[in-house]
Symmetry: C2
């Protein structure tokens, strides 16, 4: 079963609810913070962001290779990345764990050390948990709450034809290590909001092509990516298989950089000033009215599958 089919299925079955601003389908859900009737002129109540992500042994990590600390770190980091994708500030997490019945206590402590590291780095409280030992593999599920940032929740759906698309870093090859050791772009997403209105944003978890496709679908537009402008990571060039570095940059998941849409004038200013410490923002293309995803290479524009595979080109 494909994850996105299930989310579409869920969305069709999710009735409206007075507290829900955004339901399933974006990086986080958005809730009204309280049912109390507030004089809206007085109180700018901060919308609440909610996200859950589960890591499963053998699926998202090899426990023997990664070690418990890095798994705990990643479990919190993937959720922090979704709060970043909404432009929010993380607040508190709850954690459920299913522990294999071998070295149970030591593993629990390693997981916690990794989560603590991430929690401390992003001022996030770990406020509860449910810990079980079972006969299966390691499974860890984090639910994270955050506050919307200064521009409110930044959705996937706000991009407009003509908007520029930018990313916060080079892409591809995260399997060589970044998928475990990345730092979620929470701070960068907050800093960005000081410099320009961000129309739409997503974190790159499924792969650049797939995630830009998600963003465009929600925004009701298309996108053209420029093959020679996609920033390619050193790891993408080190991958030793039958795919090109560009294909890795377009198709590999779990980069956890941010892709976002902004007005061309704002994009131009961001690229010129480069206001985010430690990050080189890169222009990768632009939104277009025609739905679909396209890659422009050597002056030719061709459809780009959301998998990022471009074998058929040339």
């Amino acid at each position: 079963m494909h994850e996105f089919d299930y989310i579409r299925w869920l969305r069709q079955r999710t009735p409206a609810h007075p507290r829900v601003v955004v339901g399933p389908g974006d990086d986080c859900a958005v809730l009204r913070p309280s049912a109390a009737p507030l004089p809206s002129t007085f109180l700018p109540a901060t919308p609440l962001l909610v996200k859950t992500d589960m890591l499963l042994e053998g699926c998202h990590f090899i426990l023997e290779q990664a070690g418990g600390r890095r798994v705990g770190r990643k479990a919190l980091a993937v959720n922090l990345s979704d709060i970043a994708a909404m432009g929010g500030r993380p607040v508190a997490a709850v954690v459920s764990v299913g522990l294999p019945r071998r070295n149970t206590q030591a593993l629990a402590e390693e997981l916690y050390a990794g989560m603590r590291e991430m929690a401390d780095a992003f001022d996030t409280a770990i406020v509860g948990g449910d810990t079980n030992a079972w006969d299966g593999g390691l499974v860890i599920s984090v639910a994270l709450l955050g506050d919307a940032g200064p521009q409110g929740p930044i959705l996937r759906s706000g991009a407009k034809p003509g908007d520029w698309l930018l990313v916060t870093g080079p892409l591809g090859g995260s399997l060589l290590g970044k998928h475990l050791d990345f730092t979620p772009r929470v701070r960068e997403a907050l800093q960005l909001q000081e410099h320009a209105p961000i129309h739409a944003m997503i974190d790159i978890s499924d792969g650049l092509a797939a995630d830009v496709h998600h963003l465009c679908e929600e925004s009701g537009c298309g996108a053209v990516l420029a093959a020679d402008r996609i920033p390619i990571s050193a790891a993408a060039r080190q991958m030793n298989d039958n795919r090109t570095p560009l294909e890795h940059a377009l198709g590999d998941g779990e980069d956890f950089e941010l892709a976002f849409a902004a007005a061309p004038d704002d994009g131009r200013r961001l690229l010129g000033r480069q206001p985010i410490p430690g990050v080189t923002l890169a222009w990768i293309g632009e939104c277009v009215a025609e739905p679909g995803l396209y890659l422009e290479e050597n002056g030719q524009r061709r459809p780009l599958p959301a998998t990022g595979y471009v074998h058929s080109f040339g």
Copy 2:
């Protein structure tokens, strides 16, 4: 590893955080709803309750016996029960699922049908999820958000020596079916608050003796339970093993009734009026200054292990 050791370990390592009112160790965590500086005289901002619970195949259910719908139902219900134990109103849930690679889609839909049933019954939005297929057994983790009720978050820690202890229903033998089909006492906990100040409350998930023990430990008091006043369920009498019905009522987990402490005058009034439709409130004992858990039977008071086993009596 014992769950409670881990929670104690966690609590010692949980730094103070400005948004956290109650961290790990109660039925739910309690958060301040927003960082915005509010004039406290003006706005009674509703504290936010947060809870997570994970169900694991073979641990909390036998999938072939229970079926997907009942597992989905239980996954939401156990979390709703914790919101009930704080006297709160559920608002929204996020759900992570690890699905075995057999009948994946059908199972996902059954799980959702069971969750939907509970969500609709308690006006709870399902706002997000993470769905994965893997080589392991079925695992489902729900994180639930709620608003504190009219008396604010009702903690485990508010019981006082002399308080009466009451429960919302007969206990024991939930393995015969109630552990899957119970209805969480959300409505009853809200109704209770209209009739009396509730000093402390807990849902009976580990067993009456264990959970009263938790409540007393948090309150810094002890409790004496009256053997001939514990309401014993029909299921507890049907259990066909070497334990007595009373031992089942004291020791069996997953009854998901509420145990609570109230002042004697209020307890007397609640017992006389029985104001909760469909529920017969029962007096089971009282809080005492001396720490520890005791059972009074035939005029004798003896220590009661938190397991509820009373074999050594007589």
